[in-house]
């Protein structure tokens, strides 16, 4: 009986840490940073000093450090710190939910293609190829043309765009496993395709897919902020880092800080998740970068 996956993964992380201490340190920094961002997204709004949409025309474009407004106020006198804290929730939710959506669709999609092979595989992978020809931005553009853009059309576009990549990985892993003896044994035992997919194939496909998923989260976070920036995602007045940057563009001359804080936040969040993703890739995929 092999050790549970988590225990083996932990052992590998420790081993990787011994071989490449500098990179392991970075992975820990990334993990701590990501955790902080997630905590801010969950509890930040509770700590926010003001309502993020409370307008105050007496105090517009106040610089950072103004009394009671640590990060200053925007063009409508809204407290930037409060908007940043609320924005963390929107931006992070869009990034993580879309990645989960892409995995939830792509994982079974690729497993089915790899398991049944033949015409099913051919058909499913051609469809995936077509999807691959439409980057998430084009999907979002298409959705925005069909309906009003919202946070959810952005999440949908980002999620759908991730399906082909995850499906390909799941398909490849399934193809590797499906001819192994224990899968054949289960087949001979008369187990249904669904049971085999769930009990024999899924546990082995999860690892490479997890790697892809962790790597995809920071890309989705940046993607979500791009869509909000272009007006193809979250709409004002909802606080969102990308949306805040879009509005800041008109006030860069008077109030450059409006264009700095949300950008730094997006950058640091994506950076921490990328560091974490790299660490996980290293640990779970020993053949990868070393």
């Amino acid at each position: 009986m092999p050790a549970p996956v988590s225990a083996r993964a932990a052992a590998r992380i420790v081993r990787a840490a011994r071989v490449r201490p500098r990179f392991a340190t970075l992975a820990v920094v990334g993990a701590v940073g990501s955790l902080i961002v997630v905590l801010v997204a969950i509890f930040g709004p509770l700590a926010a000093p003001y309502n993020p949409n409370a307008v105050s025309f007496n105090l517009v474009l106040a610089p950072p450090g103004t009394a009671h407004h640590l990060l200053g106020t925007d063009q409508l006198g809204r407290d930037v710190l409060s908007r940043m804290l609320y924005g963390a929730r929107t931006t992070l939710a869009a990034g993580i939910v879309s990645t989960l959506l892409g995995t939830a669709v792509g994982l079974p999609y690729g497993m089915i293609a790899g398991y049944f092979r033949g015409p099913v595989d051919m058909l499913l992978m051609r469809i995936a190829d077509v999807m691959l020809a439409f980057p998430f931005l084009l999907l979002a553009v298409g959705l925005a043309a069909i309906s009003q853009p919202t946070l959810w059309t952005a999440v949908l576009a980002l999620g759908v765009a991730q399906v082909p990549a995850i499906a390909r990985i799941a398909r490849g892993a399934t193809l590797e496993i499906r001819d192994l003896e224990y899968v054949q044994a289960a087949l001979v035992n008369g187990e249904s395709d669904l049971t085999i997919l769930r009990r024999q194939i899924l546990p082995n496909v999860l690892r490479p897919v997890t790697v892809q998923t962790t790597v995809a989260i920071p890309t989705s976070i940046v993607g979500a902020s791009i869509l909000a920036f272009l007006g193809l995602g979250v709409q004002p007045p909802t606080a969102d880092w990308g949306g805040m940057l879009a509005q800041a563009q008109q006030y860069l001359y008077q109030s450059p800080w409006l264009g700095v804080f949300p950008g730094v936040a997006i950058f640091l969040t994506a950076f921490c998740f990328n560091l974490l993703g790299d660490g996980i890739t290293d640990a779970l995929n020993p053949r990868g970068r070393r």
Binding site: R22, R126, L132, L138, P218, I226, P256, N274
Partner: protein, 320 residues
């Protein structure tokens, strides 16, 4: 091998055909159809009927699709109802601008990413590697549009050394043209440079551990020759493939960078046609981007087949 390439070409053509169906279907999935959106200002049924008649929206969908496909194949993509300019003409005007931006960014990314990747791979795990890898990860995490805004803030608003945006055609002088392209090129190229650096590094580490490198060293070849000719030559295959696959990301970048720097390319045209609900133009622009992407993928695949001898003999099941 020619069979393999023929097969790839056939697959690409099929994918392209499916893409036209997707683009057409998406526009026609609009609630009320594109006619309602085009005559959004009036609720007059007569005006609606006139629009339907003018653009042929009252015909059965498959017939409309075949007609549009005919227009696509003949190089005419319909006419924009907003500007009354043929879509093909608009695309023709903007393609060179986007291509210039894309090619310059790609050159910048290769010039930065390949040497950085090699430097990191020569002594993996050491300080150079650590710094280069961390900076690359930072490059991957940088949202284009914010990087662009920062650039404008620093170099245009404060230092006044570079223009804050816009585009000067080559007829306006090559110096001015390039000056306007410096910031967009760096902004768009940085993310790609990071990807290229990481791929070069991984491929180089593998190549430097291979037997042919040991042989080259044993023959007394100079170290720079071993690294830059033997190892890098073999690593580039992998790098080219991955870069080809990354071009989708570059396309998303083109749209944002053109928006931030106000460059009248394909990306801006696409966004504008969404905002103005200009469906023929949107159809044309989206199809053009998808086609470009499929063709780049095909070329990458073919190059890969040509340079990788193993693919010439074994033909595995599905195309991966």
């Amino acid at each position: 091998m020619s069979w393999l390439i023929t097969r790839r070409v056939v697959i690409a053509v099929v994918t392209l055909l499916l893409a036209t169906i997707v683009v057409f279907g998406a526009v026609h999935a609009l609630p009320g159809g594109p006619a309602t959106a085009l005559s959004a200002d009036s609720t007059d049924p007569a005006a609606l009927a006139a629009t339907m008649q003018r653009y042929g929206f009252n015909q059965p969908l498959p017939l409309q699709y075949v007609r549009w496909l005919g227009e696509v194949l003949s190089g005419q993509l319909g006419t924009s109802p907003i500007t009354d300019i043929p879509v093909a003409t608009q695309l023709e005007q903007r393609i060179p601008i986007t291509l210039e931006l894309g090619v310059l960014s790609l050159l910048f990314a290769v010039a930065l990413g390949v040497p950085a990747g090699v430097a990191a791979a020569v002594r993996p795990g050491r300080v150079t590697d650590w710094v280069a890898s961390t900076v690359a990860l930072g490059g991957l995490s940088l949202p284009h549009f914010w990087f662009g805004i920062l650039g404008i803030l620093i170099f245009a608003v404060h230092l006044h050394v570079l223009p804050s945006g816009g585009f000067v055609p080559l007829s306006g002088g090559i110096g001015e043209n390039l000056l306007h392209m410096v910031m967009p090129m760096i902004v768009l190229g940085t993310g790609l440079a990071a990807v290229i650096m990481r791929q070069t590094r991984a491929a180089m580490i593998e190549a430097l551990g291979a037997d042919f490198v040991r042989t080259a060293r044993a023959k007394g070849m100079r170290e720079w020759q071993v690294i830059w000719i033997h190892a890098l030559g073999n690593s580039l295959i992998t790098v080219i493939t991955v870069v080809g696959l990354q071009l989708g990301g570059l396309i998303a970048g083109v749209v944002t960078v053109e928006e931030v720097f106000n460059i009248p390319g394909i990306g801006q045209l696409t966004l504008d046609s969404v905002y103005q609900r200009d469906y023929p133009t949107l159809q044309g622009a989206v199809l053009l981007i998808a086609a470009g992407y499929i063709i780049v993928n095909l070329l990458t695949d073919v190059c890969y087949t040509l340079v990788n001898p193993r693919l010439r003999v074994t033909v595995t099941g599905g195309a991966t």
